[in-house]
Subunit: 209 residues, 4 copies
Amino acid sequence: MTQAYDTRRTAVLLVDPYNDFISEGGKLWPRLEPVAKEVGLVDHLRTVIASAREARIQVMFVPHRQWEPGDYDTWAHPNPTQRGIQERHSFARGTWGGEFHPDLQPQAGDIVIHQHWAQSGFANTDLDFQLKQHDISHVVVVGVLANTCIESTSRFAMELGYHVTLVRDATAAFLPEMMHAAHELNGPTFAHAILTTEELVSAFEAART
Amino acid sequence: MTQAYDTRRTAVLLVDPYNDFISEGGKLWPRLEPVAKEVGLVDHLRTVIASAREARIQVMFVPHRQWEPGDYDTWAHPNPTQRGIQERHSFARGTWGGEFHPDLQPQAGDIVIHQHWAQSGFANTDLDFQLKQHDISHVVVVGVLANTCIESTSRFAMELGYHVTLVRDATAAFLPEMMHAAHELNGPTFAHAILTTEELVSAFEAART
Amino acid sequence: MTQAYDTRRTAVLLVDPYNDFISEGGKLWPRLEPVAKEVGLVDHLRTVIASAREARIQVMFVPHRQWEPGDYDTWAHPNPTQRGIQERHSFARGTWGGEFHPDLQPQAGDIVIHQHWAQSGFANTDLDFQLKQHDISHVVVVGVLANTCIESTSRFAMELGYHVTLVRDATAAFLPEMMHAAHELNGPTFAHAILTTEELVSAFEAART
Amino acid sequence: MTQAYDTRRTAVLLVDPYNDFISEGGKLWPRLEPVAKEVGLVDHLRTVIASAREARIQVMFVPHRQWEPGDYDTWAHPNPTQRGIQERHSFARGTWGGEFHPDLQPQAGDIVIHQHWAQSGFANTDLDFQLKQHDISHVVVVGVLANTCIESTSRFAMELGYHVTLVRDATAAFLPEMMHAAHELNGPTFAHAILTTEELVSAFEAART
């Protein structure tokens, strides 16, 4: 699949690159490790971000809420994942697990979106607004998890009128069948392009010339 | 799994019950038929709606855009499903396929939400607003397709702060593995309850007393 | 005030040009007539739309809900305007008052947005989505009423990231002090440009060359 | 005007109680002082919040973005107010002006909503979501400025399906005619109740019994 990008109208959305998810020693890393290693997750995230920076494509960090004491306690109906976070304290503010992976840190010119409470980086945040104020029409959604935050962020992006690209080896999930669902069953119904990192980098390079 | 409902705060969202989807002779029926027959889709939809009416639970119809000539033609980037509709003319206004199934017709007191362009019944419609004006906190999302419109409507409902129930045999999809993805892989991350029609009806009956 | 427009990225949003509002004999015309005649409302709306068409600028109709029997009756809290419509049946579907002014009819290529229930043309409609699918970044908001639908649509447009232009003599209100509030007190805090029809037409003409 | 509240379904939204706005020495205080003193702004805000706490009504802080270096610099079209903040550095993070008034500090059980970029506390924040997760149907919107953030937050609240109360002497503006516009011209079209602090306190006291 080939796809053309206008570097001034495209953004890479890097979702939840927390140590707790993608770094050895992270709270959720043991569940993610098999798929993450099989697809080369962290290497590919480094490659996608480096390629975007070389092409002067906007990078936006789209972070989940960093857990704080009291979170979700007064809510009428936290979802199953949020009830899990209440116990596990995933991405806790002030801890190593709640920091971004050391190779995936914001740089000058990047934009860090408001934290999302659940799965979609658009819900209850300024992501749509920041995309408009930076004149972005095309989003490339990478990071974790393929079938939760990446998929919900991408489903919302499509409903909001954006062109959506998924990158099948710049994401991961707890089970291989979740990757299959994200990229073979569901993604093809809402995403405009589903690429490999290699294909994306070629497209970004082509867009630079 | 048991789940309690307040009949005054609950709504059943019936998504896309078009002849083209769920009736013999419909344009998409051949793709849906195997799963629909296996789960007893139309029987269960009849049962869910009848049970809701007996319990005086609000029923809302959540319909996809009825295709009209020119639809999507000037859009910057219709999604893959929309490009398919451009060719197939699914749910065309003024045709039998674009009518609701004869046993699933709106009655006095039901609310028909504005038509959605893509998968989520919340996106670009008055669904959230109508739920608030009717003081609904809990939504039960039934109809088709399990992994597209039902799942996107439910993901949005959760992000908007609603309690979300899926009903595993009151929906269908093109492939059994799409049902598995919707109810075993993805649903458990965002839905507050995943029931069978029988369990839902018991809960509605319990709520009436 | 001068303002430059890219004709491919600009849309004119024509809000609520119903006979009940802006035509002699309309239900609300007697309240609007003094200001409407003073500013030359209908003439200026004709001029704005004609100028947009000549420049091939997208025109979008942004209509209020056409009243139907039962509207608002089951709502928890209709707003004061909606309670008025329940009595007056303004913009009733199937009546002359619920039709657009004869000189302000949609033409091929125009887009008619879903009907809004209250004041903002963005709330509970597909307006934001249609703007994105047509790659619009700048909106010019004209029609009625200056301090209700025009102002709420414009406040929403700014919050959603659009560039917003008001046109002080292509709108009207029930009282002169409402016009003053819209254009001298409130508009300057959220609108990016506040022009006269003459200034807008000059800007559109300049954009054509 | 009398209005009844259910204490479990009501929230007070306290918008932008920053020193820069409402405290002597604040950057914008000189422009606000005449109206603020005339209506007794800070005294009435203290009274509203104290009354809400006694009735166990949820208090939510709805803060504007605290200015940081770089804010708005890369945006396509900041609005006139935002361009002013770029120069004035109003509500700068880490400064006294960017702190809440000492008598209007969050307490245990209060909720602090994500910061808004412009006027509406709902736009690009988690306000709607937090209201739903706390089962709130009625909002009382107080703080500043009457015709910008209070009015936009209230217009959005109505469009989102909430019952909206304005409090005419628990807000202020730069000019008396802006107060007139907010409470006599515009508010009556979208707000369900417009009270004085005294009337609100009586209603809250009645709701406690």
